[in-house]
């Protein structure tokens, strides 16, 4: 970082009317569903009463199956072959989002694999960040820099459950099982 440090522009809610502007065809298909190792990453976005949030937008950013990261254009007009690592889905009437993608590989020796996730919704003043970890051994969880720093019940909110080729991850904005949302150095309150 240079000496200069500017104050970030404030975020604002995505509001209710993004549906005609931001979602796009195949935004939620990082790979075609027909791909042999395709998985479905899906879940509900829930409010403080456990009610589904039908006007949320979820974005994911991930490494490929081998843990490689190579930012490539083509997410907005997918060609069905290029893995760009990025996807966007809005929740449906039942509060469900869904992506077709592959399991991300770990980006380094001894690292746990996860999807980086950003969450936007009407009533959410600013974006939220979280991580969707793939299921891992208790030892790997305990030694992970983030997961290892959390009590067990909070850890659980960041780990997807797996059922065949489906990974399930709910986002709870409030409550007992509230998802752990992240702040990074440089974020201002």
């Amino acid at each position: 970082m240079s000496a200069k440090s500017l104050v970030a522009t404030p975020g604002q809610t995505i509001g209710p009317f993004f549906g005609f502007a931001l979602p796009y065809a195949a935004g939620d298909q990082l790979v075609p569903p027909s791909r042999r190792d395709a998985v479905r990453l899906t879940g509900l976005v829930l409010d403080g009463h456990g009610q589904p949030v039908p006007d949320a937008m979820i974005e994911i950013w991930q490494a490929d199956v081998d843990g490689h990261l190579e930012p490539r254009p083509g997410s907005l007009r997918r060609d069905g072959y290029t893995f760009t690592g990025w996807g966007r889905a809005s929740t449906d009437n039942t509060g469900r989002y869904s992506f077709t993608t592959v399991r991300p590989g770990p980006t380094g020796e001894g690292k746990l694999a996860f999807f980086a996730m950003a969450i936007f919704a009407r009533g959410l003043s600013n974006r939220l960040f979280t991580r969707v970890y793939l299921p891992a051994s208790p030892y790997a969880i305990a030694t992970d820099r983030l997961l290892g720093s959390l009590p067990r019940d909070r850890q659980r909110t960041l780990i997807a459950t797996e059922d065949g080729n489906e990974l399930r991850f709910d986002v709870r904005l409030q409550g007992d099982k509230e998802t752990v949302f992240l702040a990074f150095p440089g974020d201002a309150p």
Partner: protein, 272 residues
Amino acid sequence: MLEKPLVDDAIEPEPPASSDLASESQARISAEIMDLRRQYSEAAAEEAQPCYDYPPYRSTILRHPTKDLHHTDPETIELTAPAFGQRDVDPLEADLTIQASGDPIGERIIVTGRVLNADGSPVVGQLVEIWQANAAGRYIHKRDQHHAPIDPSFTGVGRCLTDADGNYWFRTIKPGPYPWRNHYNAWRPAHIHFSLFGTQFISRMITQMYFPGDPLFDLDPIYQSVRDQRARARLVATYDHDVTSHEENTGYRWDIVLTGSSSTWMEPEDGE
């Protein structure tokens, strides 16, 4: 040109009543806003971002995190950002006045500015998306029930990529204010929604740009969810006569600063 906008045609359930009570008065909302402002001025901490928990904006009540955000260091994936290119965005998408047949009705404006990292370096070649209401304050969205007219010549959606200096540029129509159901007689100040990517995933941001001198600022709980006056001012564009062009359009300038640095991420040697 834009592909056909993907409107969610399904009939969405009404939001829970608790978040859209249109029975409370502006006076009550304004009193709550003033109260929170007073609390803020008495606290020593300076805020640059909006409050997630901001009850005057009723929809935040059940949707704000109740636990503190967990501070952590970013991992490799979070220090990189998705890439977009010419393949993704057509240059014509930056002109919202030519997305449909016919000229849209309203005050034609140019909105331009720079997207910067916190260290002052430009965010280069990155995606900027905007969406907005038309001149009458109406969105092309199924759930917008405002009875102002739809303009068949205006989609209200635009995209562009920042240039080598971090500049973005859009030609559009000045949006109108519109009513919403936060409380009785609630009106949003005119605004354009901006969706921004930086050089890192954790720079990702969505915000709203406002126009100078809007009389609705003090009344609007979304704008006021940013409690710091100087921070709120960062959401307001500046009229710029150098952007205004002769007999064509008026011009506004708005620079955007994202968190994150410009340090270019490199694939490790043994990566591929």
